[in-house]
Symmetry: C2
Subunit: 130 residues, 2 copies
């Protein structure tokens, strides 16, 4: 279900949708990855670990998401006896994730004709960072 970049030679197209709700970033690529990891692992600690973020960062993102939508996306228990913090996606959470991934896929598809032309302008190898 995770977003795929279009691999062609050494270059790739990464669409990133950011959804703003007032001043808050209600949803975006990082939150989508977190939902996915929570769904797979059922644990905040494991999901955070998988994404290389701290437990606190994951917790903050969850709080933001739950605040921005009509219903919570994640039901989470912080800490707990084993300190792991269990978590699961709600029906709304699953729906939001599905819609987001489909927007990404449709977006990549719609960009294809221009992306081919764009690629023709890129050097085959550019190597260095930044």
């Amino acid at each position: 279900m995770k977003q795929k970049a279009v691999p062609t030679g050494g270059c790739a197209l990464h669409p990133r949708f950011r959804i703003l709700s007032g001043a808050a970033i209600a949803f975006g690529p990082g939150k989508a990855d977190l939902l996915e990891a929570l769904h797979t692992t059922g644990s905040i600690t494991k999901a955070a670990g998988q994404l290389g973020m701290s437990y606190m960062r994951a917790w903050t993102l969850i709080k933001t998401m739950n605040r921005c939508f009509r219903g919570p996306l994640v039901l989470a228990i912080r800490g707990g006896t084993r300190g792991g913090g269990g978590a699961g996606l709600t029906e709304t959470g699953l729906q939001v994730l599905k819609l987001y991934r489909r927007m990404e896929q449709n977006s990549i598809r719609a960009a294809q004709p221009d992306w081919k032309k764009f690629q023709a302008l890129l050097k085959k190898e550019s190597g260095r960072t930044k």
Copy 2:
């Protein structure tokens, strides 16, 4: 020519395409805005000022772009007698900018059906930051 978010109530959808070439970010929203500002102002200093970035930052982004594409996107003169640093877009630069903006527009259009459903799940007002 600048990318428009889709304004509906208090929330907006911002697609951001990032184009990777090897380890380098060959192009993305920041570089597109910079090309646009360079095209409008004809000056690195003015373009950087318009975008709230330092002259050095703009210069670094220009160098990266020029290295990643088959031909340079920007012809720039650093410093100069008035210290302004003149700049103009090449034919390739104009083409890259046009293709990028069109990818964004087509992407927004393709995401519309799901974006409407997504919006229905967002709270009307979420206000606070983060």
